[in-house]
Symmetry: C2
Subunit: 375 residues, 2 copies
């Protein structure tokens, strides 16, 4: 398939997460991106497709996800063609996912790597202000093309969040030229891991730190050129995948893919690349990392509760009570609780304090161990 213009722009939505921290909603075949965490009506993945529509037509939007998730996602009908799925045969983190996407897209479009620009967005984050979002993605695409750079979208932080990674711009960094209005694009100075509270506060004050959103844009030629410098061994595998893909040898693509290191794109490439720019994203963004995120993404009632479905709450304050639509036949009564999360799905029930929300993974682990013992 050859596109009419010289430069082809495509988008890849990464949708491979397992979302264990949203148990009991997120099961193996029903990961976070297929949940209706933010809306009552749309899945997060459908929202991601809708958000891209102003800048990338649906036929050029791809979803990269675990092989076993493709069928559940197809059934949800997220609005892209049936063939626009990139199946990861096993988990190789975001570096593996994006290398595979690059290889697949080159084979699909049959163009030279410098003619194909890919935007990379996530399906499991909450994003507000769709217009600003699509402007930011368009700016990232343009910056990647104009500067032969790996472009990333950094979110202007609105609170001293200690759970996110940050991107720092150089103290003396000037905006790159050529971007309209308040779309600021800067060279990246460094990636900073999750800071403590004091540093996070300093980051927000400084105005030179952005949240690392995990969204990118690059020409595939830039991606490959940076990869050969930063990770020559990985590059060699990607080249082998590319050759196999060009000759239609899927088994070989899978075999090479499996030999990739299981590391993130930040660690594999972004932190080592020679030319990275950051587009300042001024839209509301939340990684919806665990249940308490609903306090930020959903409306709270007059007692501070986030309520989904039809539970009976009596004298509860600052709770999250999430009754999955399919489980509505089950009456749920919660009395006299504060700062507690209660989730009822068709498959499971979770009760825990908000400040223990990460520990839901311990429940999932224990359930898996029990299952293993039964087999």
């Amino acid at each position: 398939m050859q596109h009419p213009t010289d430069q082809h722009r495509v988008a890849v939505i990464m949708a491979g997460g397992s979302g264990e921290r949203f148990w009991p909603l997120s099961r193996h075949a029903r990961p976070k991106q297929l949940l209706r965490l933010t809306h009552d009506s749309e899945t997060m993945l459908s929202e991601a497709v809708t958000r891209l529509a102003p800048i990338i037509p649906p036929q050029d939007i791809y979803v990269a996800t675990a092989a076993h998730l493709i069928e559940p996602i197809r059934q949800v009908r997220v609005g892209i063609p049936e063939d626009n799925f990139i199946a990861e045969p096993c988990k190789r983190n975001t570096a593996g996912c994006l290398a595979l996407a690059a290889v697949r897209l080159l084979a699909t479009y049959g163009v030279a790597p410098e003619q194909l620009t890919m935007a990379v967005v996530t399906a499991d984050h909450v994003i507000g202000d769709g217009a600003r979002f699509s402007q930011s993605v368009a700016a990232a695409l343009a910056a990647a093309e104009q500067h032969d750079a790996l472009a990333t979208i950094g979110i202007a932080p609105t609170r001293p969040e200690t759970g996110y990674g940050y991107i720092r711009i150089e103290p003396d960094a000037a905006r790159l030229e050529g971007f309209e209005g308040d779309l600021h694009v800067y060279p990246v100075g460094a990636y900073v891991e999750k800071p403590d509270r004091a540093r996070a506060e300093e980051f927000v004050r400084s105005g030179r730190y952005f949240w690392n959103s995990g969204m990118f844009a690059w020409k595939i030629s830039t991606f490959l050129a940076e990869l050969v410098r930063a990770r020559p061994a990985m590059y060699a595998v990607v080249e082998a995948m590319r050759t196999a893909a060009a000759s239609g040898d899927d088994a070989a693509v899978h075999r090479h893919f499996e030999s990739l290191e299981n590391i993130s794109i930040d660690y594999a490439l972004m932190e080592r690349a020679s030319k990275v720019v950051v587009v300042r994203g001024d839209f509301p963004w939340d990684d919806v990392g665990a249940w308490p995120a609903l306090d930020r993404t959903r409306r709270r009632d007059s007692c501070g509760n986030v309520v989904h479905g039809n539970p009976v709450l009596i004298d509860c304050h600052d709770c999250i009570v999430y009754n999955e639509p399919g489980a509505d036949a089950t009456a749920v009564g919660v009395v006299g609780m504060r700062d507690v999360i209660v989730v009822v799905s068709e498959d499971g029930i979770l009760v825990l304090p908000k400040d223990r929300a990460q520990d839901v993974r311990d429940v999932v682990r224990e359930l898996k161990e029990r299952q293993a013992r039964q087999v």
Copy 2:
């Protein structure tokens, strides 16, 4: 049906409670006495029948309950003949229930009221030490027959419980003669409503107060003679019921029954009767009034939790987590909670602190109102 001996002894198990305080386990057709609250295997009603077996044969054990509960109880097969159910056409409290039972039993056995002694026991209490229990019921039957008295079983208190009613014996009360070993029977001085903590402690210290267990024994002639003195208007209705029952006019029995006052047997009769004796019951007894009672009737784990079914508890202390057997397919995870009750049944889920256990009725009320609005 005529019995061979002059004096017939029968037992009536009162099983009419709705058990709303055990929602979501206890639904309309599944009241507390049909739950497996104390055991994993037997319902409380089956246990009540089993406990009476040493002194009353199953063919002389009757269950008095609301008409709509008879079929569910029959299905559980509690071990008595199919015809030994006394159906209350509407709620008329324990006074109505026991008046109806007296009338029905007179018609069934076709004997004079002085030839029929009935023991009255409850189905929704937990009773330990079956041997002492049956000795106490036998003593109550004998005391009722020998002294023409209304006999009641009072439980020797083991803690200063503020949730129970107490029975006081007179300061100078001597034991009645004719009872073996440590079976003490005393004339009753007074009934005392739920005391505050200080009085309850005094009651326990004094040795002259017993918990009002709601279990009785009387000859039906004594019951009628005391009733005509204490409640002549009620007696007149009971006499009308008796005449109707003797002629097989069930519709008339029901009509008269409905005209009875809706009051308890304590208030209607025991507190006003001329001759009441109390048998000191030295067996473990608990009214299992609400979920926290399971702390007393069930084994607690090393963290103080009472766990039923197969939930995953992580770092929980002093909780009650009750996963109904039928709901076992549902995985339940509870993390980091203390003094909280979590109940999962096929129909409902309840989360509340132990000290709010009574408020489960507010949940039930709200659910009923919602249902009413939908109709």
